[in-house]
Amino acid sequence: MDRREAPDLGGAMRPLSLCLAVLAGLTLAVSPAAAGGRTVTLGMYVPASAFEGPSQRLAFATALADHLSAKVEGNTFVPKIYADASAFSAAAKRGEVQVALIDSTYAAARGLPFRAIAAATHVGSAQVSWQLVVGAGVTSMAELAGAVIAHPTIGAKDREFLEHALFANELGRSFATWSGAPNPSSAATMVGVGKAKAAVVPVGTKLPAGVRALLELESAPLPMLAVVGGLGNSEISAIASAALSFSRRDLIDGFKPPAEGRHGELVKRLASRKRSPVFASMKSSRLSVAPLLANRRFAIEPTEILRVARPVADDEGGGKTRR
């Protein structure tokens, strides 16, 4: 197991922040696939995706880079995997990454600073459901009050993602203690080893023995392929087009054009939707003005009957006699 991605489970559990600090800045460099032409760095930051481990991530990144290299003429795509948000963010700022596969949750938490050009899919869907997994003996959400609940660290607004987006504001702020893990598998493992009573992970995460799903939570978009910077429109268009033809039997098995508004919706869900009491409008019947209108009489003056019976000369008159 690659320590840069595996949870530190040795001895007493270290604080999550310390683990993240160890991993910061470490990347898995991969040699260019072909010499000559322009080199495009394909970054990959997907901590909330349910890849089983670094090798699976690397294999996926390599396959995607190869595909794009093959499809986008004159460009060689080099995969670069980031294990924490700050490393990815810093690389992006420095212009080291031009295009990246990023967790949608992270992008949304950052306010969508990157331009999405394709949405990852699994079995045709660009969404993935999240779930609450528990160890033996837990049968309801209420039993988790005050407990530690593990989750994959997203890199920004983790709590908002969990409480607002996944639990729909149903949990009070002090309902449980959230404990971050480097990825979904690590979060699930924390339950398996008793370091957490439950974990919130995407569906598809391999669960350790004795850990089972208790609740299905809200869903969230799968990772997005986004332009980080340094690409012209034609290249962006070529990459987006090339991504659509990517296919692989994996956690992500393809791409489709990004659905408009889907990521924006996630941004909104991150905000607190506090349930506020509402005023009742005054029924208009309470504003009865009936006393003012009493004794009103309405009448229309009928037409003078002789004028009805004998229309004026320019009228057509009485019609034809029925025979």
Binding site: V278, S284, L287, S288, V289, A290, P291, L292, G319
Partner: protein, 811 residues
């Protein structure tokens, strides 16, 4: 009857033999001659020879007697008789003249001489002599017999009738067996003299003795035809066995058929008759009249012209021809033709009337009147005369005279369409004139007479309207229904609906108004407007203001509806909105009133506009349409308009509403409430509730706005202020609890909200939130679900329920 009829000629010839037969059958004269025995023997033998028709022997014996005794007068008479039998009338006259010389006053001689003079071709002398005889000896029946035959031959039927009646009265019983002959003659003369009833009785007497007697059958049918064509038709048909001998049967049948209006039958009989006698004038005349009756005037003219040509002296044909000419549009020719000829005595009136009509048609009505005036008194019971007088008066533009004369004609001939039509038209015009002057009673009387003459929808409809205008709805019903039975036009249905309405037959009125308004027949705009207005007036009076608005919708949709329509629409819309306003359904009232306001013309009467806009302002204020209400109130205030509200609200309403609308904005709520406080001094009586409502609404809106801004305390204060203007409503109490909830007083809020869940559905939602705040997810879910079941509209509620069920468990 035709003089040339074969049977009658035969009868006439038989009658000429009457003197001979009567003499033969008569007893010897009373004054016996003194003669010798031989003369007596000879005369007696001669009588016996005559009796056995041995005239040669009789002549011989009588010649011998006269030779023995030249003064034997009876022998002269007998000898003259024998000469007559042999046709030697001149010789008989000469012989009798000798006898007259011997006995100048002898009645037998004079009677025989008279008869022989007639037979010898000297009728004038013969008749004169015979008349002297009967004058001196009225019971000299043989003289009467000869006179009767001769008068009949001369066509002098009145004198023939007198002679025949005298004969029948005087003849000896021994001659009774020959009475049938004289009765038939008498019947024919009576018939020809215009006494068909008496003639028919005589024919019937004959038929009692001999039901198959052809002449009597013929005569009875003829006489009956003169009396009653309907009765005669059967008899005439039964004369089929005589038609070949007497073709005139077809003529009489044809005329009767025409008189009965059986034009086709008349045509067929005329043609059949013409087949027997192609050149006969009577056939062409009958055909012409049949063609005239069938409307084929051109053909009639041809036929009648042929009849007139064939019998130029027949004035009947001239008359018929002239009538056809007039009807063919050539009254001038008709007038000329009739004016040039003296009318026949028996058809003088008809002739004069026809000439007058022709003159009227050629704009010579004065001449027509001059011709007709003398007949006014002499023919006081002749409808034709008064009809012609009336028509001439019409042409001379004397409607009153025309009505009087045509009315008299109509009285005399109630079924005559030539009279009824013009009379009805005149009466209708006269009624219209009376209506123009406002004389409803006269107009009504005239129209009643007009409809009695010719039922017509317009007149019935007007009659109904007059009766309604006179307040007599019961009397209006008959004419109104009669009119609608004749026509199905919307105007007539409109009048009928008004009659039903006046009779409180609302269901019928509604149905009839609906039928009128859905009629596909064309209707002028003013009639269409009147119909819609009256339908709306009816619905409004029935208490259905919405139906009244609907009734006006179609005409109000015109690009520029008439002012009457707009005014009616305003009234109906205000009435419909009035109920909505009273129920507090301000938005509905607003929509209703706005539709009417859209149609209000710029120059609409001020009071109408003020009333509508006042109601609109009230509705807009109640509905919370601040912008609209302000615009209206500003306009009303500028015009210093008073509203149609119970005083003193009529004068202070605009100010109260204006303050109300102004105070709907939070920033102005306090100032508005202060203004209302100051207006409170004026707002007494029915105005007070308006002020209270305004103040409460302002305070409540301010509370809501404050709450939305998170100013819980301010919201609470405003709600307390609202309570000053009346008991807090359930909503206001609820909102006070909501403020407490927001302020964190959850327990108190829950307690109050739970009391209000029935009246205020929002309480359920707020209770859910309150329990959620307390961490009681189960009760929170329960209240959310109850809120949803109460159909409370809240954008997040369905999602909340779903999330709660998913996370905390539930059904």
């Amino acid at each position: 009857m035709r003089r040339r009829d074969g049977r009658l000629l035969l009868l006439a010839s038989l009658l000429l033999a009457v003197p001979l037969l009567s003499v033969l059958g008569a007893p010897a004269p009373a004054h016996a001659q003194r003669a010798d025995d031989e003369t007596d023997v000879l005369v007696s033998a001669a009588r016996a020879a005559i009796a056995r028709a041995d005239y040669d022997q009789a002549a011989n014996l009588l010649d011998r007697a006269l030779a023995l005794n030249p003064r034997r007068i009876d022998a002269y008479v007998l000898r003259a008789t024998v000469l007559g039998v042999r046709g030697q009338n001149v010789e008989a006259v000469a012989l009798l003249r000798r006898a007259q010389t011997l006995a100048p006053t002898n009645g037998d001689v004079l009677a025989a001489l008279g008869a022989k003079l007639v037979a010898a071709g000297e009728p004038v002398a013969g008749l004169e002599l015979l008349e002297q005889v009967v004058a001196r000896e009225p019971r000299r029946y043989e003289a009467h017999a000869v006179l009767a035959v001769e008068f009949r031959r001369l066509g002098d039927h009145p004198r023939a009738i007198a002679s025949l009646q005298a004969y029948l009265a005087a003849r000896p019983a021994s001659l009774a067996g020959r009475d049938r002959f004289y009765r038939l003659g008498l019947a024919e003369s009576l018939l020809r003299s215009g006494e068909p009833a008496k003639a028919r009785d005589l024919y019937l007497e004959v038929l009692l003795d001999d039901p198959t007697h052809p002449l009597a059958r013929l005569g009875r049918a003829w006489a009956t035809a003169a009396l009653n064509c309907r009765l005669a038709m059967g008899m005439l048909r039964e004369l089929g066995d005589l038609v070949d001998e007497v073709p005139a049967i077809e003529l009489v049948r044809g005329r009767c058929a025409l008189r009965l209006g059986r034009t086709t039958e008349g045509l067929a009989l005329a043609k059949s008759y013409l087949g027997r006698d192609p050149s006969g004038a009577e056939g062409h005349a009958l055909l012409g009249e049949a063609e005239l009756a069938s409307g084929n005037i051109k053909a009639a003219l041809g036929s009648l012209a042929r009849a007139a040509q064939a019998a130029p002296d027949n004035k009947n044909y001239l008359l018929a021809l002239a009538r056809a000419e007039r009807q063919n549009g050539d009254p001038a020719s008709a007038a000329k033709r009739l004016g040039a000829t003296e009318p026949p005595a028996e058809r003088r009136v008809e002739w004069t009337v026809e000439l007058a009509e022709a003159l009227t048609a050629t704009e010579r009505s004065d001449e027509a009147l001059a011709l007709l005036e003398p007949l006014r008194s002499s023919e006081a019971d002749d409808a034709r005369v008064f009809a012609a007088l009336g028509l001439a008066a019409v042409a001379l533009a004397k409607p009153a005279q025309a009505i009087a004369d045509l009315s008299r004609a109509h009285e005399l001939a109630p079924d005559d369409t030539r009279i009824k039509g013009p009379l009805a038209i005149l009466l209708r015009e006269a009624a219209a004139e009376a209506l123009r002057t406002g004389d409803l009673a006269t107009a009504r009387a005239r129209l009643e007479r007009a409809t009695a003459a010719v039922p017509d929808a317009d007149s019935f409809r007007t009659l109904a309207a007059i009766a309604l205008a006179l307040g007599d709805a019961r009397a209006a019903l008959g004419p109104a229904e009669a009119a609608s039975a004749l026509v199905d036009d919307p105007v007539t249905l409109h009048v009928l609906a008004r009659v039903y309405q006046a009779l409180d037959r609302d269901t019928d009125a509604r149905r009839t108004f609906a039928a009128a308004s859905s009629s596909k027949r064309p209707l002028s705009r003013s009639s269409r407007d009147a119909l819609a207005i009256d339908q709306a007036a009816f619905e409004l009076a029935s208490g259905d203001a919405v139906a009244a608005v609907e009734a006006l919708a179609k005409v109000a949709a015109d690009k520029q509806p008439s002012s009457r329509v707009t005014e009616a629409l305003v009234v109906a819309a205000r009435a419909a909105a009035n109920d909505d306003l009273a129920r507090g359904e301000f938005s509905t009232a607003l929509r209703q009133l706005e539709r009417a306001h859209d149609k209000l013309a710029v120059n609409a009467p001020g009071m109408l506009r003020d009333a509508l806009e006042c109601d609109l302002a009230l509705a807009a204020t109640g509905a919370g349409d601040r912008k609209r209400a302000q615009a209206l109130l500003r306009s009303l205030a500028k015009r210093r308009a008073s509203c149609e509200l119970a005083p003193p609200a009529d004068t202070v309403a605009v100010a109260i509403l204006d303050t109300w609308v102004g105070g709907m904005v939070l920033s102005r709520a306090k100032a508005a409430l202060k203004t209302l406080d100051s207006l409170g001094r004026k707002a007494t009586g029915p105005a007070r509730p308006l002020l209270d409502i305004a103040a409460r609404d302002i305070a409540h809106r301010a509370a809501a706005s404050s709450f939305d801004q998170g100013a819980w305390r301010a919201a609470s204060d405003y709600l307390e202020l609202a309570a000053r203007y009346g008991k807090l409503s359930a909503e206001e109490q609820h909102n006070a609890a909501v403020v407490e909830l927001a302020l964190g007083k959850t327990v108190s809020a829950i307690s109050q909200l739970e009391r209000l869940t029935r009246e205020v559905p929002e309480a359920l939602l707020n209770l859910g939130i309150a329990y959620e705040n307390r961490g009681d997810q189960v009760r929170a879910l329960d209240y959310f679900e109850r809120a949803a079941k109460a159909k409370l509209r809240h954008p997040g509620l369905a999602g909340w329920i779903a999330a709660k069920r998913r996370i905390w468990g539930g059904p």
